[in-house]
Amino acid sequence: MNVNHARAAHADGGWGDVPETNRAVVLLLEDDESLRELYTVELEEAGYAVEATGSGEETLERLGGGLKPDALVLDIKLEGIDGIEVARRALTHHPETAIILHSAYEMYKRDFAAWCADAYVVKSTRQGALTRTLAEVLGRRAAGEEKAG
């Protein structure tokens, strides 16, 4: 499961299938159960290995427990530790992990921590914004590393 720096691909988008072992790992934080299920399936169908959590605390626990995802998809408005706080800590301890803030609220865009995230996606009924952005972000990161390497 824990395979780093892999190029993700869109299942429907014609990016081509990626071998199971080479799939990028996405840690999804979403407190809404229905949406958690939806995004998990959608991301999996897009070729990602998805770990889903329902709270900020649980997410930090997973990160502290040795999980090294390629990307964090973080809901922001949560009970307890919110997504921005999770992003802030991840930025410090896991700078290699891409962070995508995923919220129904546009107002968090003004938060300083939100500026450090790789992307900010507003939840919508429109299809594919999250998977598209995730692919872009991971692609950008991979290109950057290749250049650096």
């Binding site: 809404d32 949406l35 939806l38 995004y39 399936v41 129904a104 507003v122 939840k123 009924t125 299809q127």
Partner: protein, 640 residues
């Protein structure tokens, strides 16, 4: 002051004139005459006013059977007034029209004591005993005597004295040179009675004036101070002023707070006069002078001022004007004009006491004006405050409504995203010909639409500032069409696109304009059926770019067309409600106009007109502000 009993003056002088012990008829007749004179002299004291007193005295003196003087003149001097004024004329024998005219003229004679010090008439004021002079020695009366049938040869001048000071002069003309010393003594006695009676009348009148003045003042004070209506206060001030000063009318001019011009704010007319009615604006000039000088002014006779154009006024026209001052601020002018007729018979001009009274009532009025104005301005301020408060509450309500609806939309995004997402999954999982595939698609589409409607709600309630960039309108149209192409195809709609080649780039908020185009296209899609056409066209017309989006189909009734852009109007085609209201708002923000009409087969034609000129100016403004904008604009154009 000690009260002196009248001296037994009359008795002493009358006795030698009375023939005692004579039995012949002449002596009897003389005795009758003396008695008549005595009776009539005493009767003078019963006169109710000074006119009647003068008439009784002159009747007695010019009666051929009693004294028989050819002419009698009475001049009076007011207390504290340095002039002699013609009071009354009496002539023995029948009175012709010439004499009547003389009588009228006589009332207007004024002889300043200073100027006339050398005239016998004026000197008489200091003479203790009657003075007899040849008529020609007193040039003052020559025109008076010229009007008489028999001009007098000699004049007897006697001063009239009240209790303490001389209050007039009696002038008697006699045709013959000789004088009966007894008659002279009788005249002296009569003059003494006349002076005393006159003094008593003056005191009485002054007392009555004072009494009624005080009562009126008391009433006025109460009413003026309790009134909160400025017009009432000013009218009352004018009315009381006429009473207190014995004026035929009084006027109050006030300064409007905004200007430095006086306005007639209150007038009370005790005795109507058309001449004065017509002279108000000229009198106002005098009032203006008074206000400018800041002190009171008193004119004994306004007729003397040529510019007043009142020379034809029948009697002296005095005027007193005093400024209305409160807290050092001149608020207006109070003026009393013309003596009321009964007051005039006693004294034709206003006295210092009248002016004092006006001053008193004036300061009272000024205080009230100030108070009422302060009250009014306080009411205005309070009203203004209340309005502002209402507006603030409304603004806050709108703001919180905006916040609330924004929050609502965002809260709804989670469940809506879930609904749409799962519906799309179901749709995708079903084979193409499955009966439920279209149903799932509808769930998905409707969830999307719900989200858009809510987003538009935010736009109306809490519009964000525009984000301007150089954009090609054609590109925005292309993007919009792409987003909805599938929907149009599924509805079996034909699409016609005509884009003019010469349309310049415009400085626009691309997202918003695209939202407008989407709203209109969606409204068109909702109102067409299978086989209908939607037409999109751009054209340049002068300094504007026109963008037309039309659909074939039924024409909309006029009342619906007129309601299309009203937010939440329910009569429009499905989906129009809020979307078109937002469209109008956005286009207006871009300096443009949006309109809708029907024409021929085109049931609905939306026309958006955007100005090129204003757009370019705005662009220059944006370029000046930041060079970055220019670079970004350039790139935007190249990319397009």
């Amino acid at each position: 002051m000690t009260r002196r009993q009248p001296e037994p003056y009359g008795e002493k002088h009358l006795q030698p004139a009375m023939p005692v012990g004579s039995e012949d008829t002449k002596e009897l007749a003389e005795r009758d005459r003396a008695l008549s004179i005595q009776r009539m002299t005493l009767a003078m004291h019963e006169a109710l006013d000074s006119d009647e007193l003068s008439r009784r005295a002159l009747d007695l003196l010019t009666d051929p059977d009693l004294f028989g003087y050819t002419v009698g003149l009475i001049f009076v001097k007011e207390a504290g007034c340095a002039e002699l004024r013609g009071e009354a004329v009496g002539v023995s024998g029948p009175e012709g029209s010439e004499l009547r005219a003389l009588r009228q003229r006589f009332g207007e004679i004024r002889i300043p004591l200073e100027l006339g010090a050398e005239y016998p008439l004026v000197k008489t004021l200091r003479a203790k005993r009657p003075v007899i002079i040849p008529a020609e020695e007193e040039p003052l009366f020559q025109d008076v005597f010229g009007a008489l049938p028999v001009p007098p040869e000699h004049l007897i001048l006697t001063r009239l004295t009240g209790r303490s000071e001389a209050n007039g002069v009696l002038v008697l003309g006699c045709a013959e040179a000789g004088h009966d010393p007894a008659d002279l003594a009788r005249v002296e006695l009569l003059a003494r009675h006349l002076g005393l009676a006159r003094g008593r009348l003056l005191v009485q009148a002054a007392y009555t004036d004072q009494q009624s003045g005080l009562a009126a003042f008391q009433d006025a004070t109460e009413t003026i101070l309790s009134s909160t209506n400025l017009a009432d206060v000013l009218l009352l001030t004018a009315r009381v002023s006429t009473q207190l000063a014995g004026a035929s009318r009084a006027m109050v001019w006030t300064y409007e707070e905004s200007s430095r011009e006086l306005t007639l704010a209150g007038q009370y007319v005790a005795e109507p006069s058309e001449v004065l009615d017509g002279a108000i604006s000229r009198l106002q000039n005098l009032a203006q002078n008074c206000a400018r000088q800041g002190g009171g002014i008193s004119y004994p006779d306004v007729r003397e001022a040529e510019e007043m154009n009142l020379a034809s006024f029948p009697h002296p026209l005095p005027m007193v004007a005093i400024p209305l001052t409160a807290f050092g601020e001149i608020l207006g002018v109070l003026a009393a004009v013309d003596r009321e007729s009964s007051a005039r018979s006693l004294r034709p001009t206003f006295a210092q006491s009248d002016e004092d009274m006006l001053r008193l009532i004036g300061s009272l009025a000024a205080l009230t004006i100030k108070t009422v104005r302060l009250q009014e301005s306080r009411r205005d301020v309070e009203k203004h405050l209340a309005e502002n408060q209402r507006a603030l509450v409304e603004t806050e309500r709108m703001a919180s409504l905006g916040e609330l609806s924004a929050k609502l939309v965002q809260d709804l995004r989670n469940p809506l995203s879930a609904i749409a997402g799962f519906a799309r999954r179901i749709e995708r999982s079903l084979p193409k010909d499955h009966a439920s595939k279209e149903d799932a698609s509808i769930v998905c589409r409707e969830a999307q639409r719900l989200e858009e409607v809510l987003a538009q709600q935010i736009q109306v309630a809490r519009p964000r500032p525009p984000r301007l960039a150089m954009r090609q309108i054609t590109q925005i149209l292309h993007q919009s069409v792409t987003l909805l192409r599938e929907e149009m195809m599924s509805r079996g709609v034909f699409l016609e696109e005509t884009y003019a080649p010469q349309v310049p780039d415009l400085l626009l908020d691309g997202d918003r304009v695209q939202q407008v185009v989407l709203n209109i296209l969606r409204s068109c899609i909702d109102s067409v059926s299978d086989g209908d056409t939607i037409r999109i066209e751009t054209l340049r017309e002068g300094d504007r770019v026109l963008l037309e989006i039309a659909n074939t189909g039924d024409q909309l009734p006029g009342e619906i067309l007129s309601q299309l852009f009203v937010p939440f109007a329910t009569s429009g085609p499905a989906g129009a409600g809020l979307g078109l209201a937002v469209a109008q708002q956005v286009i207006r923000e871009h300096g443009g106009e949006i309109s809708v009409r029907s024409e021929g087969e085109w049931g609905t034609i939306y026309t958006i007109s955007l100005p090129i000129q204003a757009n370019q100016e705005r662009r220059r403004g944006a370029d000046r502000r930041t060079g970055k904008d220019r670079r970004r604009s350039g790139r935007g154009r190249n990319a397009a």
